[in-house]
């Protein structure tokens, strides 16, 4: 027993060390390394691919412009399998490489929460796309958000629906995962503040095959406007189709997934005329347009927020390291927090003390399958 255990642990050590040796041999070039945890497998593998695309696009631009601190920048990617244990391992694997100076974390809030204890231990900056407000408000100094958090999406959806569309009877449909629950709560709060508390607040479980009961609940609630937080585009596509089939045609303002590329493709005409808040809208600014063009040239498809935030993250992180003049984590942190009025693809970055870079959303409209920019709503508080 003793012998076997020893042999086993020796094997384990060897097994773990082998890839590490390969890695260090391969990493002799004097590059600056940025780690990236991204779903390569699992339910969000598709989005993961876009995130990699966006990051690589920014990386190419940075390197073309001379790199960072005079060195080329290299992206080290690990698969987080779209799961929480997966990202914990992926991140700790990256963090074990001491020459990685900063990281790109996940767009999924629970994953960020899962990796957060390790982030504090590592003590290096991590750029995130998760939109749960708590992430940057719970005392972790190393998380920097490159998307507006859910407080803003809820407020923008409410503001646009109530003020611009003039609708007061709201039905809210949200997924029961962390993203949907937090979003639904934020929207409810914002609506209540505007004097239009929702008439229906309906959660659903991800990967549902059928939304008839949800649609009928919306129909019966007598709502004249629909606000949604959908996590997966598949679910959104099924819901949208059934909504139209059962004759619900009220205005619809939703979270970014409503105007995501794959939702538009999957749901087709069912999403025509809907509004979505989008942290990324191609027509919202010149920077966004430029990013859109570059992305199309490189990958032949339209970009969306999944690829825009990593693009901005790499761009701003590189600029910050250059400004800091060093790869010291604290100096990088200060430089990121000092980033103000920076025009990114997602919007204008004004970092606050919590590490939130963006404070508003674009509203875009699905105009017969084309996503068109409608307006930008920003908040100062």
């Amino acid at each position: 027993m003793k012998l076997t255990r020893r042999e086993f642990s020796a094997g384990l050590a060897a097994g773990l060390a082998a890839p590490a040796l390969m890695r260090s041999a391969w990493a002799q070039g004097a590059t600056i390394k940025i780690g990236m945890c991204v779903p390569v497998t699992g339910p969000a593998a598709e989005q993961g691919l876009w995130a990699q695309n966006g990051a690589k696009l920014a990386l190419a631009a940075v390197n073309k412009a001379g790199g960072v601190l005079g060195r080329q920048v290299e992206l080290v990617i690990e698969d987080d399998q779209t799961t929480n244990p997966g990202i914990v391992l992926a991140f700790s694997k990256l963090a074990a490489q001491s020459d990685i100076v900063a990281f790109l974390g996940s767009i999924r809030s629970t994953q960020v929460q899962a990796m957060a204890p390790d982030v504090i231990k590592v003590g290096k900056p991590v750029m995130i796309g998760g939109t749960n407000p708590d992430l940057t408000h719970s005392g972790n100094p190393w998380l920097f958000r490159f998307r507006p958090n859910d407080n803003y999406s809820g407020r923008v959806i409410a503001d646009f629906g109530v003020t611009t569309l003039g609708k007061k009877k709201w039905a809210i449909v949200h997924s029961t995962d962390a993203f949907g629950t937090a979003g639904g709560k934020a929207l409810t709060e914002a609506l209540t503040k505007l004097g239009a508390p929702p008439v229906l607040d309906q959660g659903y479980a991800n990967q549902s095959q059928d939304f008839t009961p949800v649609v009928l609940a919306v129909k019966q609630s007598g709502a004249d406007v629909l606000g949604t937080y959908f996590t997966f585009e598949n679910d959104l596509g099924i819901f949208a189709r059934q909504l139209r089939q059962l004759g619900v045609n009220i205005p619809w303002v939703g979270s970014p997934s409503v105007v995501a590329v794959s939702s538009t493709k999957l749901a087709g005409p069912a999403l025509f005329g809907t509004y979505g808040v989008a942290d990324f809208a191609e027509d919202s600014s010149d920077t966004a347009k430029a990013f859109g063009k570059a992305y199309r040239d490189a990958y032949k498809t339209a970009p969306d927020n999944q690829s825009a935030w990593p693009y901005d993250a790499i761009t701003i992180l590189s600029a910050a390291i250059n400004k800091a003049g060093s790869t010291d984590p604290n100096k990088i942190r200060d430089a990121i927090l000092a980033t103000q009025k920076f025009a990114g693809a997602e919007g204008e970055y004004n970092f606050d003390k919590n590490g939130d870079g963006l404070h508003g959303y674009n509203v875009v409209k699905n105009d017969k399958g084309k996503i068109v920019y409608d307006k930008h709503i920003d908040f100062n508080d």
Partner: protein, 590 residues
């Protein structure tokens, strides 16, 4: 059978205390703990080791419930989650002490496992699979949706560790120590009374029941124990990773635990550790293939198929088999003294009194109002043509079937409504027509289970006394020298003798033999006859069912004849065999 005659009686060899025999294990474990505490790991390896260590403990649970007891559990991740949430919510929300939460979590999972087990373990394998899957799904839904309790999909963050083990490294060492301790207990479990009962239940539930094992309670214990280990592992996991969320405890994780268990080898805790380690490491090793999404998980899936295909008993089973083959044959068993049979007696003249016994299957009256009275110290035979209801009668007597009506009194105790194991405790021993031994065990272990009968007055305290009694019984039937061989290496006739030895070791008040001569050749039949004489000589009452008229007429003093479920004759042997109704029942009436 002559071997027993010239065997020199000698006391069984006393074994050294376990703690000393297993000293190398503890030294090895201590070294591992020291390594875990002392070596400088980076965060990645630390996380992998922590995950492997805690998962292994959960997989130990499966090696108990599945490997030892043969019951399936597809909800281990749910129990793992119970433990994790107990520690998570307890330390993060309620600010309770870590140890308190860990113990509380274990208690909750133990109760949950036992209750779930009690509700379904009376039913068989596939039912259990279904109920555990359902339980798993419901637990996941509650974790996600009962936000007031579990924080829902956000999960629980800021889980605390005990003051003593604040650093990750020391916490890992603590977990490795727990792994070593729990691993030791699980490793040792098969040799305890409960462990033997579990193995007996796995090998043959019916035989386990009639050998005095409470099958239901054994299964519930195994299930509760499995859940408990899951909960313990979950608690340790929560402390290690400081964050838990529902997706870590889903059905997919339960399947993963099961795969780990079967891949490593379900029979041993070493297998659990190997399986767990591999399933965590394989995807990590294959990460270099990540440029093609899905490729490395596809290879992982393929390796699962290949390992199962080429290593039927898991990796550890494969390794230990090869090891066993290389080693010489098992050591010689200790020499034993003569078997003493002292059937209990309440003083009455009749040991077994059956009155008006009936067993109906729907419209079929398999046994219909049968009376039997077996005199103390006699050999009594129950005979009848095929389909006359003999074996049904025996099964009603031993409790495998419930009597439709009638009364069975054993040595003054009414056993009509008792479960099989309770009847065994009351003093009933039996053998089966189609032999029911515990196939994965040695002859000695089989007989030990018989000797362990509750209420057996013939054994002293401790494992050594048990072994001594079992050796005596095996020697009595002439197989003492082969005690440490597996059942599969014995001939059919010898297996029958082992089954008789198993019943004798329990020192029964009445021995039921179901067609003991079936399938034996003429020499073996002769030996069996001799054996019955020697048993009867010690005053044990025997009720025998057989077709073999020579055996019955020579061995039995008293015969009861059944036909079409009714008693057609009863009395002194020779007289009964000449009874015209009996003759026509056997030869067919004109």
């Amino acid at each position: 059978m002559s071997a027993s005659d010239n065997m020199i009686p000698a006391p069984a060899v006393r074994s050294k205390p376990l703690i000393i025999r297993h000293l190398p294990y503890f030294i090895g474990a201590a070294v591992l703990v020291a390594l875990a505490a002392g070596m400088q790991f980076d965060g990645y390896i630390l996380n992998i080791l922590l995950q492997a260590t805690t998962f292994s403990i959960a997989v130990f649970g499966l090696s108990v419930v599945l490997g030892l007891c043969g019951q399936i559990n597809l909800a281990q991740a749910a129990f793992f989650g119970f433990g994790a949430y107990a520690v998570g919510l307890g330390t993060a929300d309620l600010h309770l002490n870590f140890w308190l939460c860990l113990v509380g979590g274990c208690a909750i999972t133990l109760v949950a496992g036992a209750v779930l087990g009690m509700s379904t373990l009376r039913l068989g394998g596939h039912y259990l699979a279904m109920v555990t899957i359902s339980f798993q799904q419901i637990v996941t839904l509650v974790m996600i949706n009962a936000i007031w309790l579990t924080h829902g999909p956000d999960g629980v963050a800021n889980i605390r560790r005990p003051e003593l083990f604040q650093s990750s490294q020391s916490y890992l060492a603590f977990c490795v120590a727990m792994l070593a301790i729990v691993g030791y207990l699980v490793w040792h479990l098969p040799d305890t009374k409960l462990g033997r009962a579990m193995r007996a239940v796995r090998d043959n539930e019916l035989a386990a029941g009639v050998n005095g094992i409470d099958v239901f309670r054994t299964k519930v214990s195994a299930f509760g124990l499995c859940a408990l280990l899951g909960g313990l592992a979950g608690g340790l996991f929560a402390g290690g990773f400081a964050y838990v969320s529902p997706d870590q405890f889903s059905f997919a994780e339960s399947i993963q635990f099961l795969t780990m268990s079967l891949l490593g080898g379900v029979a041993s805790p070493i297998g659990s550790v190997i399986g767990t380690g591999l399933l965590i490491l394989i995807p990590e090793w294959l990460r270099f293939l990540k440029s093609v999404p899905g490729l490395y998980l596809a290879i992982y899936g393929l390796s699962v198929i290949l390992i199962i295909r080429f290593m039927p008993d898991g990796i550890w089973g494969f390794v230990s088999d090869a090891f066993t083959r290389m080693r010489a044959h098992s050591k010689a068993p200790p020499v034993a003294g003569a078997l003493q049979l002292k059937p209990a007696t309440s003083g009455g003249d009749v040991v077994l009194e059956v009155t008006g016994l009936s067993k109906h299957f729907g419209g079929l009256k398999a046994v219909d109002g049968v009376d039997i009275a077996v005199k103390r110290g006699s050999v009594h035979a129950l005979i009848g043509p095929n389909g006359s209801g003999k074996t049904t009668t025996l099964n009603v007597l031993s409790g495998l079937y419930k009597a439709t009506s009638g009364k069975i009194v054993l040595d003054g105790t009414d056993i009509t409504n008792m479960a099989p194991h309770q009847r065994t405790a009351a003093g009933l021993g039996r053998t089966f027509q189609n032999i029911r031994l515990f196939r994965s065990m040695t002859a000695l272990e089989n007989v030990e289970i018989g000797a362990e009968r509750p209420g057996n007055t013939m054994i002293g305290k401790g494992d050594d006394a048990l072994t001594e009694r079992a050796m005596e019984a095996l020697t009595f039937v002439g197989l003492g020298s082969r005690a440490n061989e597996l059942i599969s290496s014995f001939s059919y006739g010898h297996q029958r003798l082992i089954e008789i030895a198993r019943a004798l070791a329990s020192n029964p008040t009445l021995l039921l033999l179901d067609e003991p001569a079936a399938g034996l050749n003429s020499t073996e039949k002769l030996e069996l006859h001799e054996l019955l004489k020697r048993i009867a000589a010690q005053g044990l009452t025997i009720l025998i069912i057989d077709h073999d008229m020579t055996l019955v007429s020579e061995a039995a003093q008293h015969i009861t004849v059944l036909n079409f479920g009714r008693r057609i004759a009863d009395g002194e042997s020779m007289a009964v065999l000449r009874h015209p109704d009996v003759v026509s029942a056997y030869l067919g009436s004109e």
